[in-house]
């Protein structure tokens, strides 16, 4: 399994945050997708999750805007991703690193 140490991640993605931490109204650009997090019982391995995210359009360079957050624990997220609207749970968004626009 190709996992990188937590520290290296932080250094490599200075100024970026995980998509799982964004709030409604945030917008920005996807900087990098990584196959590294291991939330409990994902049902699929990290590489499969990466490919599913890619197939939904979570790809480096894509623009996004957080439209809504779910009513309970602000989860899931409703995101405008380029031209389409997508919903995903925060736990599945951990490996999407984004750069937020200045507000």
């Amino acid at each position: 399994m190709l996992t990188q140490p937590e520290d290296a991640t932080r250094v490599a993605l200075d100024g970026c945050v995980r998509l799982s931490t964004v709030r409604a109204g945030d917008s920005g650009e996807i900087v990098e997708l990584r196959a590294e997090s291991h939330p409990d019982g994902h049902g699929v391995d990290v590489h499969e999750l990466e490919r599913r995210l890619l197939e939904f359009g979570f790809v480096e360079g894509a623009r996004f805007e957080v439209l809504h957050e779910g009513a309970i624990w602000r989860d899931p997220l409703a995101i405008r991703l380029d031209d389409m609207r997508v919903a995903l749970r925060r736990r599945d968004a951990e490996d999407v690193w984004v750069r937020l626009d200045a507000k």
């Binding site: 997708l33 196959a35 409990d40 019982g41 994902h42 049902g43 699929v44 590489h47 999750l49 990466e50 490919r51 599913r52 995210l53 890619l54 197939e55 939904f56 359009g57 790809v59 480096e60 360079g61 439209l67 809504h68 957050e69 779910g70 009513a71 309970i72 624990w73 989860d75 899931p76 409703a78 380029d82 031209d83 389409m84 609207r85 997508v86 919903a87 995903l88 749970r89 599945d92």
Partner: protein
Amino acid sequence: MSEVVMRPARVALVGNPNTGKTALFNALTGSRQKVANYAGVTVERKEGHAVTAAGRSLSILDLPGTYSLRARSPDEMVTRDAVLGKLAGEEAPDVVVAVADATNLRLVLRLILELKAVGRPMVLALNMYDIAQRQGLRIDIEGLQRELGCPIVTTVATRKRGIAELTAQVDALIASGALSTDNTWHEPSAAELRGAHGEAQRILRAYVRPPERPDTFTGKVDSVLLHPVAGLVILLALLFLMFQAVFTWAAPVEDLVDGAFGALGALAAQNLPDGLFKSFITDGLIAGVGGVMVFLPRILTLFFFIILLEDFGYMARAAFLLDRLMGAAGLHGRSVIPLLSSVACAIPGIMSTRVIDNKRDRLTTILVAPLITCSARIPVYALIISAFIPSRTVWGFANLQGLVMFGLYAAGILSTLAVALVIRRIFWRGEVEPFLMELPTYKTPSVESVLRNLWQRAEIFVNRAGRIIFPLTIVIWFMSTFPGPPAGATDPAINYSLAGRLGHLLAPLLEPIGFNWQMTVALIPGFAAREVAVAALGTVYSIGDADAHVGALADQLAAHWSIATGLSFLAWYVFAPQCASTLGVVKRETNSWRWPLIMFAYMTTLAYLASFLVYRGAVAVGWG
């Protein structure tokens, strides 16, 4: 139509979900379509026929929507295998029609690049082209055609525009003898997916100019419908309306159906000589068909709402709002509709699990749906409560009988959530699939498509589920009738029948939970449907028309049963799979006997355990 009759050309429709693929399929085939299942899987197979202007006959397959040929669900596997020509019992398509939402091309372009690698002759249908035009979106169709190397047709499926052009292009491809090139498709790696995205992006930039007037309607509606407070209030109001409708609108029609079959039975009873044949016609045949048809009003009312909301684009929003709530029990946001539908009846509930795309979530929902207190339990609960629970006020405001009824409903809901969690642990090792879902743009549902879809649901239920429910009803009639009572018999006839003997045989098994043999015997015809237990108890206690004399029956039960036995019977009905129709529908929906058997086993076990605990507990406090 002068051409020699030959094998119709095979056309497969492939595309992302929400691209109007099914609308295009309907526009192409009209009413000439057939809904079935693919061999061995639960995926719905929709096939239809069309004839081109040149007279060529086309056999059109509407494949499940997908974002990728790298299949992740049984539905998507069908699409992949059908396109690759590897699906058992299916020939490879002669032409693939890629269906795209003209206003949302990015993802479908990547899918089209995958389809190109498969090498089958392809036509691209740019659907919803009117919306693209209204938004001022410009597509250089000539250029895109050259770039992709396949003909492009613009269509508006809901208005049947561009359909003749599409079939003409398919015809031209076949007539030109376009053959499949080598299949170079393989499952793409993450790097290849990124590469394909880059390629799709380049094509998009080169040939598509973004809309001048992008759609703002969906965004505006979403800011209300997805609002944490307003959204939930609207959702609850909608659900309330839906289930009110299933209970109240469907009920008169149901009474009508019930009354019609009752009248038919009475007519037959008047005109037939007494005897076995009469009993078979009235109690077996007519009651059996009636027992199937009586579900139709509920199913159609519920599906009317579901199809309408799905076509409008609301279902994905409901799933979004409730995802976390259901997630706590290991279920999917989309499980809410089937589970709430089960309050009326588990059968439409289980049929509506089709809105759940993930197979595991769907199976879990199917397995727990019958635990929700359905309306057929009400007569049984009402009878036992009126017999054993005194109608008195507790805590100053609550009626004890009402409180017990509430408790039974709560027990149903709690056990549903608990069993869902356990199923996830046992069968799927606690794994939760990633939840990624497109929130489609809102669209006005078309009357024609809603009606066609409703008709198909009715057909599926009567044809398939009916084929299982009806024979089961006949078997239960047979068992309760044969053999007949000997001459001079004093006990009720059912006592001498197979059901009666089986009841006596099973009685020792159910004795530890406080059931006497009369109850065990009544459970067997009661297997036809839960409410039948009331009539069956009436039969074994020789109360003529039990439904009409519930009071008399309740007095009998109060005289013959202890309180502990009554409570135990209630506990039994919370869990027991006393409904052959539900098992029949589960068989139909999962396409295997495995799941109805698992359901029967776990529900019977739960029922036995619950009744045992309740009975022993009640005896211990002196209610024996």
